[in-house]
């Protein structure tokens, strides 16, 4: 009797399993999920689904498929529309022989038009559904539609399909910091802070004679709430990243105020740290922005003798000016043009001066464009490379 009970219990546990079992070869791996605005305000999904049999050809005969030379693209593009996200997804599923598997999707491509109309619906669906990666990057695609992006000819790329190409580009941004790509998590967290504006990467489809031939990360896309309001140039993006303490490594080129005209000096910014302190005088709110920069020299054409400390000091002053101008320009664009608090000054005010924050929070849209900033930059050139004195051709 006791044994029978145990048997039933074990059976009950084991047999209730299996219900969510999916063999790995019955999955449709989505890599690259694009969202466009369809007809009649519908949501239009466009996904890139991998064909594993064609991808894994390195090992010769791959399983039962026989492998052989991979003919054709290693992926297929599927599209579907729906009144909302869930409907669009179920429509998409109707077209597929395998069940959609989204957990390997690390990039969400947003069409510019769709982004301008607001992306709240997307975010809701994606955060509710456990199949979406919260760490997926969000990119706004400009210069063409998503179909063009996914159909990009592979002979123009290093990677085997456009998704991987873009993923590589995003990861490569840490070398240049020319675009600021945020992931789903960060995007949502930013949205949840009142009045703070999200910012994410912008992917430009490079065209030649009306045909897409390549991709490029250019600056970033500024949102206000969940709507795209405009774009930032590369330089402004770098300034914003400096302010957000997100700058990892970037290049800085001096071209003005140097000893010889039409010469350049380039530095690699290796460390950047920013402190932002709100100052209140009566009704005026201003922010002191203190930036500390560490650089090392990359290239100089203007032949400064860097064994002389005075020269180095002079260059440091020039760097300070350059960065200060950059930051001021970026802030100007954000304040006057987009009225988007991308850096989150309101958040800083909340932390430092909660009483004032309560008063100004509602009217921040009006106050923000008028806020003053005092930018002070302190930079240091740590290393000047292997040559101390420039080479003099004789």
């Amino acid at each position: 009797m006791k044994r029978l009970v145990i048997l039933i219990l074990v059976g009950a546990i084991l047999l209730t399993g299996c219900w969510d079992k999916r063999e790995i070869n019955q999955l449709a791996f989505v890599q690259g999920l694009g969202i466009e605005k369809g007809k009649d305000d519908m949501i239009h999904l466009i996904v890139q689904i991998l064909k594993p049999g064609l991808l894994a050809t390195g090992g010769g005969g791959a399983g039962g498929t026989g492998g052989g030379s991979a003919v054709g693209k290693p992926y297929a593009v599927f599209q579907a529309s729906g009144v909302d996200f869930a409907k669009a997804f179920s429509n998409l599923n109707d077209e597929l022989p395998r069940s959609l598997f989204l957990q390997y999707n690390e990039i969400i491509f947003l069409d510019e038009k769709f982004a301008r109309s607001g992306i709240y619906k997307t975010l809701d669906f994606m955060t509710r559904n456990p199949e979406f990666r919260r760490t997926a990057y969000i990119l706004v695609v400009t210069g063409g539609n998503l179909q063009e992006l996914f159909d990009l000819p592979s002979n123009e790329q290093l990677e085997r399909y456009p998704y991987r190409e873009v993923l590589g580009m995003i990861q490569n941004q840490q070398n240049t910091s020319s675009s600021y790509v945020c992931d789903l998590n960060e995007f949502i967290e930013t949205l949840e802070i009142p009045k703070k504006a999200p910012i994410t990467g912008r992917l430009e489809i490079v065209k030649k004679d009306g045909k897409a031939i390549g991709l490029r990360m250019v600056g970033s896309a500024v949102f206000n709430n969940d709507k795209l309001v405009g774009f930032l140039e590369e330089q402004d993006t770098k300034a914003v990243m400096t302010l957000k303490n997100k700058l990892k490594r970037s290049t800085l080129t001096l071209d003005k105020g140097l000893k010889s005209e039409k010469a350049h000096i380039s530095f690699v910014v290796t460390k950047a740290h920013t402190d932002i302190i709100p100052k209140v005088k009566g009704k005026d709110i201003s922010f002191d922005i203190k930036v500390n920069i560490e650089t090392h020299m990359n290239e100089q054409e203007s032949k400064y003798d860097l064994t002389e400390p005075k020269n180095l000091e002079k260059l440091q002053l020039l760097i300070n000016d350059k960065i200060k101008q950059g930051i001021e320009h970026a802030l100007f664009v954000l304040q006057k043009k987009y009225n988007a608090d991308v850096v989150g000054f309101i958040n800083i005010l909340h932390q430092r001066n909660p009483k004032l924050w309560k008063e100004v929070e509602k009217d921040w849209d009006k106050i923000y464009p008028e806020v003053k900033f005092n930018v002070t930059v302190k930079s240091i050139v740590r290393r000047t490379g292997l040559t101390s004195k420039p080479i003099y051709p004789r």
Binding site: I13, L14, L15, G17, C18, D20, K21, R22, E23, I24, N25, L27, F29, Q31, L50, P52, G53, L55, A56, G59, G61, A62, G63, G64, T65, F101, Q103, Y104
Partner: protein, 511 residues
């Protein structure tokens, strides 16, 4: 009138309680009744001295050293006793003279209980019965052909003593005695087995081993009432704490050096005549991962190898299950590129991952089993067939995916790297249970079964020592000999899990 001989039926039933009589004739009759039909038992009738006292020499042919009998028993008794002609003596005195002056072997006992004498006779002693004496001389003449001491085939070292135990108990005890030359080293003997009367020795160092453990070992051994003990494995099952556990709770070894080391840590060794495998109690789980060689090779290397072995244990136990769980339930946990490649390999495989894994694992187990049992010459054919069929053809036929072959191969190799075979087979068995759990419940199932196994292990005890010690209950100091091995000069104390009365292993000379 002739002396009335006892009824044979009576003798057979009661010989255990009978003693020798004065009449040689009757004694021999009893022996002949008891050992009737055995043509390997030799009754040699002799006459002693000038008085021609009748005597019998009884021994088992093949179990005695015949040269010894001829030179050291027969020769002195038959020839030298003639010199006794000047002295007047009774038969009893003659018996004593022979015992004290004539027999020149090293060990002689005097016994009168027929049961004891029969036991001794059958274990290779020579019995001398003299007419008119109620006692018998038990002359130690054991000597039979046995296997030579050779290198171990089950535990092999790169560095360390090569010799291993043999089937003869005395040779085995001598190997231990040679290594521990201290009066406190005790080798106690008992006989187990109603018919086999197997000699079993309990070896321990009196001043180190825990008395309660020694008492417990003796108590449990005495309870064994089996007809015969062929191998120490019989006793292991009788005396282990939890006979229903898949985990071995008693260690065994074929190497005298390893057994010596364990005895010096306060453990008790049980040697069984006829078995080269010596049991060591109490046993803890971690010791099955400690190869004796760990202590001979330099400690850096040994520590690294131990960590490797623990990793191999986890691979042997869990690798196929993790593969199954990840490919059928938790695909998101596999790195993208790998997942794509696995998916590509599984394209066209008709079975679910669980069946695929079970198929391969069972094939592998069959191959392994076949390889062990087969004669050496056929073994090669098995490995060729196995390697080709399982490795290549199955993949090409699309029955299994190449990744699965790698998983199974890894698991197999990992399970070989566990030094103790008995634990390795436990893991072989448990692996299948975990695989089924993984195939039905995913990681949840794996964790569930692993938790059950852990709970079971935590509940085990071996002769009063918790099985998982020193991990739990944790003794931080002894952890220095679990995952790593600290150098010998730092091992000041003996492990206290096993004993606690004599913990100093060496004088602390580090200043």
């Amino acid at each position: 009138m002739p002396h009335k001989l006892p009824d044979p039926q009576y003798v057979k039933e009661n010989y255990q309680y009978m003693t020798l009589s004065k009449k040689l004739e009757e004694n021999i009759y009893i022996f002949q009744v008891l050992l009737k039909g055995n043509n390997d038992i030799v009754f040699r009738q002799i006459s002693i001295g000038d008085k021609k006292v009748k005597a019998f020499l009884v021994y088992v042919d093949g179990m005695v050293d015949k040269l010894l009998i001829t030179r050291n028993i027969l020769e002195p008794i038959m020839i030298e006793t003639r010199k006794l002609n000047k002295i007047i003596y009774t038969n009893d005195q003659l018996f004593n003279y022979i015992n004290e002056y004539f027999i020149t072997t090293s060990e002689v006992n005097v016994k009168d209980k027929i049961g004891d004498i029969i036991d001794d006779l059958l274990s290779g002693e020579t019995i001398l019965l003299i007419d008119g004496v109620e006692k018998a001389l038990i002359i130690s003449t054991k000597g039979w052909e046995g296997r030579n001491i050779a290198e171990s085939t089950t535990e092999s070292y790169v560095r360390g003593p090569k010799e291993s135990f043999v089937e003869t108990l005395r040779i085995n005890t001598s190997m231990l005695r040679r290594r521990i030359k201290h009066p406190d080293f005790v080798i106690e003997n008992i006989k187990i087995g109603k018919y086999s009367k197997t000699d079993v020795s309990i070896a321990y160092v009196k001043s180190i081993a825990d008395d309660t453990v020694v008492q417990e070992v003796k108590k449990r051994l005495k309870k064994v009432q089996i007809d015969g003990v062929i191998d120490s494995g019989y006793l292991e099952e009788f005396i282990e704490d939890n006979p229903f556990s898949p985990f071995p709770q008693i260690a065994h070894s074929e190497k005298p050096d390893k057994v010596t080391a364990e005895i010096l840590e306060g453990k008790v060794a049980i040697l069984v005549d006829g078995s080269p495998f010596v049991l060591i109690v109490p046993a803890v789980f971690v010791q099955f991962f400690q190869a004796a060689e760990d202590y001979y090779e330099r400690y850096f290397l040994s520590s690294a190898l131990r960590i490797l072995r623990i990793a191999a244990m986890f691979i042997a136990l869990l690798f196929p299950s993790i593969y199954i769980a990840e490919t059928t339930f938790h695909q998101e946990m596999i790195p993208t590129q790998l997942a794509i490649s696995i998916a590509a390999q599984r394209e066209g495989v008709p079975f679910p991952a669980l069946l695929e894994a079970l198929f391969m694992e069972i094939t592998f187990e069959i191959l392994r089993e076949a390889g062990i049992r087969l004669p050496m010459q056929v073994g090669q054919a098995v490995s060729i067939v196995g390697g080709l069929v399982v490795g290549q053809a199955a993949v090409q036929a699309g029955l299994v995916s190449p990744a699965m072959v790698i998983v199974v191969a890894m698991t197999g190799i990992a399970s070989f790297s566990i030094p103790a075979y008995n634990v390795a087979i436990t893991f072989r068995l448990l692996r299948f249970i975990i695989m089924i759990a993984a195939g039905t419940l995913g990681f949840f199932g794996i964790i569930m079964v692993v938790m059950m196994i852990l709970a079971h292990m935590a509940s085990l005890e071996s002769f009063g020592v918790p099985y998982l010690s020193p991990l739990t209950p944790s003794r931080t100091q002894e952890l220095s000999d679990v995952l790593i091995r600290i150098p010998w000069w730092a091992k000041i104390l003996r492990p206290r899990t096993v004993q606690r009365k004599n913990i100093m292993r060496q004088e602390d000379t580090r200043g």
